[in-house]
Amino acid sequence: MSLGIAALSWVTPLGSDIEEIWSRLLAGETAPLESLADPETKKEYLVRRVSPLALKQLPPQTRLRRASAISRFAAAAGLTALRNFAGPLDRTALIFAVSNGGVIYTRRFYSEIVKAGSQGASPLLFPETVFNAPASHLAAILGLQGASYTVVGDGAAGILALKLAEDLLAGPGVDSVLVVAAEEIDPLVCEAYRRWRLLRNPTQPENGRGIILSEGAGAVLLTREKRELQLSAIDAGTTFFRRTEAAGKLRKLRERLETSPSIIVGSANGTFIDRAERSALGAIPYSPKPALGDSVGASVLWQLIAATQILKTARVPDYPDTTVGSSALVLSCGLNQHMGGLRVKLA
């Protein structure tokens, strides 16, 4: 089933204007690196963060008064994607994709339990720790009362969210689906990736090995109608049970999706995924992650936006001599056993 892309938006460490950020990426710019310190352990991590200015235009919302950063990112991206939407909201579904989720409040909530016992637990924080809290806030802000799904997974969660959108649009219940993905950063997540031996060494930022985590959101509004940009195929992919299986399964995924020579936007992030992509695809394809950081649950939507910009501008950052046709593949390989992909076409 081919889906029309009616609107796209993102909130990234380089800003939230798609055209402007694309120009900067084409010019070789990367989002600033910041040091994030854990207030308790004093450990420091390299991250790419969203500037508070990016959320400046977010109108005040009662629902966001106590909400965590992830909900604000999601709201900013979702509201922008729906800015020019004239369709009926009662026939619009919301899908929210996430990986780490509301980790800032989750850490605060659990740390109070560990330090002060269960009596220190805050009833205000607990509801915000639930994976679907950002989707709930967003649905309330947008006035959506129908289907709302939160999809959780690894870096490939966005592919599954888009597949779910396709499944919803295959039925008669909805006419459009807003897919939003978001992530926030906390030292706890950085420490988890460090102990998983997947994080960039902060003393060697120029070393390409290891992830630099980032935060932000992406959003895409999908419809059944034909648009200039079409999601012409979505492959929910597969689970892989060993890292060594990733390359072979990526190769098969590409074969299923590629009907004609296509530019590929990959998910290389400085980990075993780079090796898998190089082995499966012959070279490491363009990935926005080195410039924007790895926003994990939101990363597929950033890849999708990068793919649409490649098709529209016929230019690929880091690969200036590449010939761009009318279709691009987005392949995503997550760190926790999932991969999937999609094909986007420019009419």
Binding site: V114, A121, F126, A139, P172
Partner: protein, 398 residues
Amino acid sequence: MIDSPPPRRVALVGAGIVSPLGLGLEETLVSLKTGRDCVGPVTTFSVEKTRCQTAAQVPDARLGVASTRQARRLHRVSHMMIAALEELLQQAPGFSPQIAIVGTTSGGMTFGEQFYRSLPGDSLRRAPGWIANYPPQKQIADALAHFHLDIPALVIANACASGSNAIGQAFNGIRFGQYQQVLAGGYDAISELVFVGFDSLQAATAEKCRPFDAGRTGMVLGEGAALLALEEWESATRRHVEILGEVVGYGISTDNHHLTQPNPDGNGARRAMEDALASANLNPPDIGYINAHGTATFFNDAAEGKAICEMFKQVPVSSTKSMMGHSLGAAGAIEAIVTLLALRHQFLPPNLHFRSSDPDLSLRIVANESQPASLDYGLSNSFGFGGTNASIVLRRAA
């Protein structure tokens, strides 16, 4: 609007369940018929300072959690999923799903807790195992890997409605031609963070769990895993497999009232039930039994009860959470199987600890003991944080 082909029928050709009620369909059926109260003292973490000190738990010894070194690496909810999937696959030979759609709220949360508590030690030794096995998508991946099912897994985290959403979306996926066979269900295990969270909200009770009772004081937590094999009807009949039942309806709604409380007017619950009936082409009198969300919190039961009263006339209602606690992301899947068992064995599962009717709710509660019944259709409700509501309708196999 689209011109879609006629919706397909969706058969249930297999089921697997692990819950405090027992391991497998047989044990579950016996527990439901005898009204076994599975709630007891919490054993996995300290509850000295919480108001609620009980939960319904699945004994680790029965899961083989510590049987081998490899088994110890997996989260206990992965073991529940493996056991549920094993039962399902034994019942449904030749079942080869294209996708797994499952619901959970917190996956392997206890591994996340262990990781957090290990932080001061700066140990790299055990942390990678906890981190890799903690995420909510890992436990379905473990179960799929165990049986070499090389398929994608879509994990829905719609709070306490997750399991019903997963089954409902699997149903719609087959109904509208996206898939032929789908593995669907849900899972969750008790963790300190979630337990204390509900306690902090004063949603958990220090007493017995009494859904819809005038004196209800709150919920108790549970845990478990349940899976269903959904298959396009014609495909299932062509394969001559036993059809256990049929999924005929699904409704989903979002209630924007509050992050943790349903709209007191019951509107969100009502819309989910109305949509489920509409998609099944049924009217309220067709429903013979409602397995209610029925958490026994004041607000849920008031809103859900109001919606049921407005839509149905004296349909038998019970909340089996009174027996096995609230298993959150697994609840919808477990209760779908409870509803399936009620349809297959023609009985009404009991609502335990029921003493007196809420004067504001005119409900026909299946009080304290199971009852024989003649049922064709059952409806199962699941409502969650974030205002997410799901209802599914099942039909007994002809």
